[in-house]
Symmetry: D2
Subunit: 377 residues, 4 copies
Amino acid sequence: MKEVRIGLIGTGYIGKAHAIAYAQAPTVFNLRGRLVREMVAEVTPELAAERAHAFGFNRSTGDWRALVADPAIDVVDICSPNHLHKEMALEAIRHGKHVYSEKPLALNAHDAREMVDAAKRAGVNTLVGFNYMKNPTAQLAKEIIARGEIGEVIHFYGTHNEDYMADPLSPIHWHCFKETAGLGALGDLAAHIVNMAQYLVGEIEQVCGDLKIVVPARPTKGGSSEMIAVENEDQAHAMVRFAGGAQGVIETSRVACGRKMGLSYVITGTKGAISFTQERMAELKLYLHDDPVNRQGFRTLLVGPAHPDYAAFCMGAGHGIGFNDQKTVEVRDLVDGIAADAPMWPDFEEGWKVSRVLDAIALSHLQGRWLNVNDIV
Amino acid sequence: MKEVRIGLIGTGYIGKAHAIAYAQAPTVFNLRGRLVREMVAEVTPELAAERAHAFGFNRSTGDWRALVADPAIDVVDICSPNHLHKEMALEAIRHGKHVYSEKPLALNAHDAREMVDAAKRAGVNTLVGFNYMKNPTAQLAKEIIARGEIGEVIHFYGTHNEDYMADPLSPIHWHCFKETAGLGALGDLAAHIVNMAQYLVGEIEQVCGDLKIVVPARPTKGGSSEMIAVENEDQAHAMVRFAGGAQGVIETSRVACGRKMGLSYVITGTKGAISFTQERMAELKLYLHDDPVNRQGFRTLLVGPAHPDYAAFCMGAGHGIGFNDQKTVEVRDLVDGIAADAPMWPDFEEGWKVSRVLDAIALSHLQGRWLNVNDIV
Amino acid sequence: MKEVRIGLIGTGYIGKAHAIAYAQAPTVFNLRGRLVREMVAEVTPELAAERAHAFGFNRSTGDWRALVADPAIDVVDICSPNHLHKEMALEAIRHGKHVYSEKPLALNAHDAREMVDAAKRAGVNTLVGFNYMKNPTAQLAKEIIARGEIGEVIHFYGTHNEDYMADPLSPIHWHCFKETAGLGALGDLAAHIVNMAQYLVGEIEQVCGDLKIVVPARPTKGGSSEMIAVENEDQAHAMVRFAGGAQGVIETSRVACGRKMGLSYVITGTKGAISFTQERMAELKLYLHDDPVNRQGFRTLLVGPAHPDYAAFCMGAGHGIGFNDQKTVEVRDLVDGIAADAPMWPDFEEGWKVSRVLDAIALSHLQGRWLNVNDIV
Amino acid sequence: MKEVRIGLIGTGYIGKAHAIAYAQAPTVFNLRGRLVREMVAEVTPELAAERAHAFGFNRSTGDWRALVADPAIDVVDICSPNHLHKEMALEAIRHGKHVYSEKPLALNAHDAREMVDAAKRAGVNTLVGFNYMKNPTAQLAKEIIARGEIGEVIHFYGTHNEDYMADPLSPIHWHCFKETAGLGALGDLAAHIVNMAQYLVGEIEQVCGDLKIVVPARPTKGGSSEMIAVENEDQAHAMVRFAGGAQGVIETSRVACGRKMGLSYVITGTKGAISFTQERMAELKLYLHDDPVNRQGFRTLLVGPAHPDYAAFCMGAGHGIGFNDQKTVEVRDLVDGIAADAPMWPDFEEGWKVSRVLDAIALSHLQGRWLNVNDIV
């Protein structure tokens, strides 16, 4: 069985989620390749060594360039801050590595396109960490739509709202600067819901957005009275039009009091509707217009072994899946894809398409009008 | 005690709701005037007589002009189809009557303005039937916001979606024609959520909308194969900006499968949030950011006697209020207002403001850009 | 059209609900008799006169005996405290009046039986105010069960929990004494859920209960330090067995923090299930086992014109019904029944059956064993 | 760091959950011992080898007696069918192994007691797989109660209902026979909710139960017309009394249509209430009576890093935890306990106490009366 040797760069919040997924994936799924947790890179050799030990990796390094150049690495997994994605990915590609990058793929669509092209030229496979679409409930939604059970989709309302910066005194961090994060809530959060929209409904062709910085300046650190300006949007929304004709609205915020994991969608079709929120990630609501009129109502489907990818986790319906489980499905796709040398999805191309939509939303705000996504270069 | 003698024009769906409210209001509330169910007008004398009997009115007529001219009428209550509101209201005003009109006030803002001006010149009082804001839960939301409990409002998401025309074979009716209805879902449904937005968050200053006819033609009658073109939007949404600085999104649809009474709102503030759907009209969800971080969560408030206007219906909390009860609150405002010769709210001026927002949304769609609501004449 | 002239005794909490129902019923429904709000009795002539005026009744009296003897009264409606039901009903029956009594019918089954027998001998019709079963959702549940849609019922879990006495310092009142109330939460609240159980599942044959006084003594009045002993149960539950073979559990409490109107039931059948709570009185959840396994889930049915007795209130589904609306359905049954001189349901016989179940629960607690309901005399 | 070498017997449904937990626990938590997946036992050497490979274990055997005797095993993990627990545990204890057993500990309390005594005599540590109490939400409920936030607990309503045998034609299996399973739904499901009740509210002292076989016979296999009698209860409920004075009701069913993972509880205290269902395993509802009366309501707490044991899985609140995650907390307790040679909980003693309650419920049904749990030997 072919080995799939992972080199992980970055071990923070999302890096740990990757590590947990690597740990459990071979037991959960019958993988097509032998997953090897080979090397961890962090900002210092000490931290790298500590995390390699904690995450069950064989080796570690304080220099990510050593990792991407290492001959015993098949896949470079990029979990670093956003502004480093591009340089690391390009360097990995230069060494012929497959690349698995966290979202957003880059700080803007232009950079993302450069990465897509580099990967294509090098003939390496790519995957972007849009893990919410790997949730069995999202796959179930996709299946329902694809089978025509809700008819033709006519409307999409999607959000990714959280409140992690709702407190105006919570300190500034790299997400708030253009140089390190590019966009604000759009890049950090809306990337997921835009990907979800395109996964479920198809490509977004036109957008018209409105962005706002709600908290203009934040303390340099907790308790400090020194304030620094926030450079990108705290909240934004956009009207969108899909290639298939459906209308949509996308909302995002990092200051939405009360929303802890507010990725949600309501999809309306000509014969039914679907409703979902990630805060109840193991259930999907489904309405079928053809039910008898006096027995119509949204059904609460609890995800179970009759639905995609659930049975590997548990044979009992409704027993629940968690955040790291959807990352584990993603890792399954990674290992199977690399082992078979087959394309994976969502790849860098999709990552670029998402970036393009986000950039178009931001630009349409500046111009106060609708934009064609294709016009973003 | 001063008499408040009602002349009701129109006894369909909403006319009956008015009649029920008239019937129960004097028992529910301690009204400041003596409500008299004086006269009903309908399209024929026979129908008028039948309905006057059923609704407990003293007299009836097959000619609405007789009703508005009748000296024993204090208030003309207009429950006729939309395109008749203007003519009837102007004629009633001409006879010095107070006017209580169903929404939308007119087919467009221009007509609505004419009605406002006429009422002002005549010195009569007016009220528009935006009954959802009379719901105790809506009043509770207003109170929470006014007291600053959720801080400064930064975002409003509101919908009025229903599925009463979701079936593409459901026959055409007057709501689908410009001449009889003006706008489609915007006029019939969104009028309510725009009023609610302005009630709770303040005036809408700028809008950018997108409208769509989803079902281009419908049968002339049930089972018929003869099709007639639908002339106005089945679904629409808009981005809006409030005078106070908040951003917002408004959605509306008459073809939203699964939504039976989808007037809903999520209001996000700097210190909390409120969430509501009319399908659970007796509960309001409230999130307070200042709760201890490990005890934060949306509270489900069941409306009760500690909240506005509930105690008159029932002394037990959570026992439930219904659609006609909010109409009864509206009738209380009507009778008290007329008896005291005091202004009521929402008056024709607010009805005009709502129409202006709706017209601006429709026009912004045609122009593909943001519009100032003030630019609508 | 035959007149149905009402004499109302008692105008407190529930008396006002009756008055509201009388006010709106003729407009809501096409009644088979002409409802006349004839006379109100209260403890003083002044209070009676004031309430008669407020409730739209023609006459009033400070002596209930005058009311039950009045020749212009067809129906005596008893909304007085529980311990007066029996005497008033017997006196009304003696005068040949039909009787509409609030629940519980009497302080115990023995007294209730006496009332049943008196009514039968006199040939008068009777109705007991178990209004929750008049809710269109309850009627819908009944219809679903009767049609076999959830198969054979195998389990019933029902509650009527509230928290109106949850505060240990809330003052004592007549509900807490055996002489004035008989049972505690069982009589005041569980009467409703026992009636509902019998309406939906059939007669209860055997019971085994457990009762508890949670707050042993309460202040004589608000703020007082003088305490008086509570004489009846604050909370209770019982296992029950239905004649049809189903098992069940009944719970009740007046000290259940957080429950404002906690009448709820979960009914499990061999082919489906139903779930309901009165706190969301306009929706019923329905699960059908025969749905495809990957599309199974509880449906949230919003009550609408396709369901029993809703269309009279509103032609739009999901627009909501309230507490007084179910009382209005009850009044419709009353007026139609009296006008047609036909039996009504739930009648005194059912009121007695409910009392018998409640008494059996209390007695089974004392004896620490199962009891046959039939053994209660 | 001390090694904790696991020997796993049984690799079915729950065995795989254990394997997943072993795989991810060292990455999720900073364990106090080095977890070694040492050996798997299954019914044949081939199956054992296959599963050892799939689950990442070093060795395998077709003979569980070899596993329990193996000197390189520290903990024997028993995931076999219920009737084998006792023999395997006793044999493991005889070899001085610590034992981690799935629930129910044994087929009856008598056997469980024998296991407790053997473990005590041998001085080995024990743990029973009541994983639902390891859910961060359950720990949060415990914390809320322990801090007195809902006052003194006065009522507990708990269920463990599923519908995995709701179809009367689903074939018979070992759960249905006394010899292989002992009790039916009580042993398979109610064991969890009884443990949860005792974890959250304290020991159950008295019980009075009612049991029922709903489907008397089932096919020998799918599609077969040969039927075999079901020997134990499909559904049951019981009234219980806790040592601390609270009353309670416990329900269980394996034929409860619509319930996929219906472990739920409502805990009422003198100052608040808690409500939970495992179908929404990442949220807990909390009501605090001391909130202002017009702002009272159940709060929906989404479990997050401010709550017990969540942060190790994810630093974002509300991102969701799954079924295997609670098993991972259990494995953390196991490894930390064994590494520190410290007692773990719930141990065999608690397993016996649970069995005693279940046996008492079954016996009380036969005797038709209340029983003291202590009277079960």
